[in-house]
Structure formats: C-alpha cells, structure tokens
C-alpha cells in the first residue's frame, strides 16, 4: 500500500491505517502503521528514521569538545542533561572531575531542565487527551524557566553549557534570585495542575488501566525513566549510579505500581516536586571556587572504552565512547531512553482501543529526534 493511498484490508478483515508521520499526537515525525479490528488495535509497527541524522557518525569526525554540542539536538527537551552525559564521559576518560561549583550548577541546570521538560509533557498530554487549557498552563511555567536559561546560557533550547571539566562560564548574578522566584511560582501552580487534570474524572477514565506494562516486561524491553518507574521498576540513575554529587542530596526515587498510563502520569507529577526539592537544597549552597578544571586545548582520550549514564527527563541515557587515542572518538554510541521505551509501545497498545494509543504515546513522553538520533 502506498503511504497516502487507500486504507488496506487484510485477509483477516483487519483494517490497516497509518498514523503519522505528520500527526499532532506523535510529537514529531513518528510513523505508526496500525492494524485494527474495528477499533481494537491488533498490531502496531513503528516506522522510524524520518529525522535520522546519524549523530553517531558525525561525532566520529568531531573533536571531544565539539561532539557534545551535537547531542543537544538529540533529546532537545533534555539538552542540558545530554551535554552533561557527554562531558562526564570525556571527564571519565581524562581522569578528571569537575570542581564542586560546576557540579552544583550542573545539578541545578539539570533539575530545571527536568522541570521544564515535564511541564511541556504535562501540557501536551492534556492536549492529546482533548483538554486545551493544560497546554497554556504548562507552557507558562516552562517559559519562566527558559528565561532563566537564556540569561545564564545565552540560549533557550540547545544550551550547550556543559564542557569537559565543568561549565562554559559562570552563572549570571541574577540567577539565584530568579530561580527562587520561579520556584515560588511553580509551587503555587502545582495545585492548579492537580485541579485541572489529576482529579479529573474524564482524565482518569482515559488513563486508568490503559496501556499496562508489567515490571518484567519493562525490564525486558529496556524501559527506563518514568515509563519503567510507573511499573514499579527501580531504575533512577541518580540513585543507582550517582554522578556530579547527587549522592549528597536528599530526594526520593518515585515508584508507582499501577503500570498503566495513570501511574506513569503520577510518577512524573511527583518527580517535578522532587526536582523542586533538589533545587531548593542547592540554590543557596552553591560552593565558591572555579567553575572549570583546566584542560588542554586539544583533548585526547587514552585508548580504551568509557561508559557513562545519566538520568534524563525520559530515562537512562548512556554514552559509550571507544577511543583509539586520537583527538576524536573512534566509535560513539548513544543509548537513548526513548528508543528502548518506544519498543515497548507495541506490547502496551495491543488490545487497546485506537483512542488509547494517543494516551499511551503521551505517557511514554516521546521525543522523536532522541529515537532517531
């Protein structure tokens, strides 16, 4: 069947339709081929690659300073955290560590990124399920975080703030005050979030019991982040393999046991509060000192293999660098969270109604450039 041709009917009387690549609920260019029996989903086949840029191949010809910036374009909603992962991998190879001030600022930035990412997800999830207001509420707070980012990093979306050995430059003098104001606002507005969606009867009807993923399947499919934690699988990298001083902070790993869309929703809602908690601990305790370790102009990693993982807003991002001693990586692999999470979509959607597919996709929190890379 051609992509835009007439819908196909299989021998079993199943109806085959295409969702995407240009569809509002796929949050990018994801193309799903869906086999339907009436309204019930029999099979889903994701077709990827519409935005494949082969960042891995590109990174092989870039220096260890430059390849970091390409990764902002993977999961653009967690650009900071992607950069952090790469910077940490290079630091691991060089055997250096960022100074305490840089680590503190990295954590602050990462948690602000997580907050803004979850807010965008919350707004879009409402929109996907037919509620328009959450979209505006979500973007309102996100905007104030973006302004803080813009002031310190000079960019709103692809910040490129992390460098091997620390951060690119020190924070703006207004940073601490602005973050405190943003936090105050966000904490007040959490109540509105709950009023609008969490306790809403229609919303609960659309999400409870929909898209069930068992803990065993979550592990087997390699799901991480809120997708796996909604099924009760402990996988928070910040707790399992602490980096940048997360082990010194007080916060909880959020676990829900429902395994459905509602559980994944509740995990992200609670994670936002944990992020606020982390930022509150750090904002007045940024250590004085250097924000960058001195490194050579041309970085060369010793021969060997280095693996570093971080917790992005969507799950575990792994950066695997194979070095042959040259000034650019011999092979680099990004184990992106969304790629593995998406592979569980077919399992979750089987037997659901077609309207539920949108709810399931919304709670996986897909970012397509992260899937395709």
């Amino acid at each position: 069947m051609s992509l835009l041709g007439e819908p196909e009917l299989t021998e079993d009387g199943e109806f085959v339709i295409n969702i995407g690549p240009q569809h509002p609920s796929t949050h990018g260019v994801l193309h799903l081929k869906v086999w339907l029996d009436g309204e019930t989903i029999k099979k889903v086949q994701p077709h990827l690659g519409y935005i494949h840029r082969s960042i891995e191949k590109m990174s092989e010809s870039l220096s260890y300073r430059n390849f970091i910036f390409a990764t902002s374009r993977m999961d653009y909603l967690s650009a900071h955290i992607n950069n952090e992962a790469c910077a940490l991998t290079v630091e691991k190879g060089l055997g250096i560590e960022a100074p305490p001030r840089a680590q503190a600022i990295r954590i602050l930035m990462a948690e602000l990124t997580r907050l803004s990412s979850h807010q965008l997800w919350w707004g879009c999830m409402g929109l996907d399920l037919g509620a328009v207001s959450p979209f505006f509420y979500g973007f309102r707070e996100r905007e104030s975080i973006m302004e803080v980012m813009e002031e310190t990093c000079g960019a709103r979306l692809t910040q490129n703030y992390m460098v091997p050995g620390g951060i690119m430059y020190d924070i703006h003098p207004n940073f601490q005050n602005r973050v405190k104001n943003v936090l105050k606002q966000i904490k007040e507005n959490f109540k509105e979030y709950d009023d609008l969606l969490t306790g809403n009867v229609i919303f609960e009807g659309r999400t409870k019991g929909v898209g069930y993923l068992s803990p065993e399947d979550a592990i087997s499919y390699g799901c991480t982040g809120p997708t796996a934690r909604g099924s009760g699988v402990s996988c928070d990298v910040r707790k399992w393999f602490p980096y940048d001083g997360y082990d010194k902070l007080q916060f909880n790993e959020i676990l829900e046991t429902g395994g459905d869309c509602y559980a994944r929703y509740m995990v992200r809602m609670a994670e936002m509060r944990q992020s606020v908690r982390i930022i509150e601990q750090m904002i007045d305790n940024i250590p004085e000192g250097d924000f960058q370790t001195k490194t050579k102009a041309v970085l060369k990693l010793p021969k060997g293999e280095f693996y570093q993982r971080v917790e992005t807003a969507r799950g575990e991002l792994g950066v695997y660098i194979v070095s042959d001693g040259a000034a650019s990586p011999y092979r680099i692999k990004y184990r992106s969270p969304n790629f593995s999470n998406l592979s569980a979509l077919e399992h979750m959607a089987k037997g659901a109604k077609i309207g539920d597919l949108v709810a399931i996709m919304a709670t996986i929190d897909l970012v397509i450039p992260d899937v395709d890379r």
């Binding site: 082969s54 590109m58 691991k92 087997s220 693996y307 695997y320 092979r331 184990r335 998406l342 569980a344």
Partner: protein
C-alpha cells in the same frame, strides 16, 4: 557480586571465555559458536540473572567487527560486558538474542541497518532508520558517500 566473584563464576561456567579488566566493567570475550548458550545462561542462571540488556552495539575495527552487549542484573546489581568477534566483514552473521531480552529487537535492527550484521532467527530483520533500498552501511569505516560533508 564483586568483579572478582563474577569473573570466577563466569570462568567456571564457560572455560573458553577470555577476560579483559582494563575498563570500568568486566569484559568477557566469547566465541561465536557458544555465544547463544552463554547469553541464555547469563539470563537464566539464578546467581547471575542478568535481566536487563541496557546497551547493544557494534564496533567496526576494519579487520573485523565486534558485537558489544552491556548487561546488568537488577537483583544483584552487577554489570557485565559480553564481546563477540565477527571475522567475516563481508557477510557478518550472529544469532539473535531478542527472545531472551525483548529490547534487543530494536537494537539488533539498528545494528543490521547501520553495520550490516545479520541476526539469525530475528523475527523482523528489516532496516529501522534508513530507506529499504539504501546502499551500504553508514557506520562502517569504509562507507563513502559523496554527499557527506566535513564539518
């Protein structure tokens, strides 16, 4: 299990395996014929129980290809890296593991797409990112594309 204990128990189970401890994780080199058996044992042995395959990729070393499997046991919290050398670079082939870990389905398709490694008994061995009639395997070191520009 600590790295030493892990090494000991893997060495007892598979005497033919060789080890490399220079990196962060314990690396185990496995022969191609016994690869499938090793993976099954690692997953189902109750002392090892590697239930999560968190990274699956391939490295092109020009003379040969190297399959790399990173796995972790959620229960015991130990990490192991399995490596398999593929000498045939023209038509590399290896057994699939996607019935052992479901996540391997997508990752193996990615390796097939970008490195041209064929996974035997994989249920859906198609290209995942690129067009079906794409010529060559982009992540191979000998891949040339006249449209490729240097940054």
């Amino acid at each position: 299990m600590t790295t030493e204990e892990l090494k000991l128990s893997v060495a007892t189970l598979f005497p033919a395996a060789t080890f490399d401890e220079t990196g962060e994780f314990l690396n185990v080199m496995v022969n191609l014929p016994e690869f499938r058996n090793v993976m099954k044992t690692l997953r189902h042995n109750s002392e090892l129980s590697f239930d999560s395959l968190f990274c699956l990729t391939c490295i092109d070393w020009k003379t040969h290809l190297m399959m790399v499997y990173h796995m972790i046991s959620k229960q015991h919290r130990h990490v192991l890296v399995i490596k398999v050398k593929l000498d045939n670079t023209v038509k590399p082939e290896i057994e699939t593991v996607c019935d052992i870990w479901k996540t391997a389905n997508f990752h193996e398709r990615e390796v097939f797409d970008l490195f041209g490694v064929n996974f035997k008994n994989h249920p859906d061995m198609r290209r995942i990112m690129l067009d079906d009639n794409w010529d060559g395997f982009p992540l191979r070191k000998n891949y040339v594309d006249e449209n490729m520009i240097s940054l």
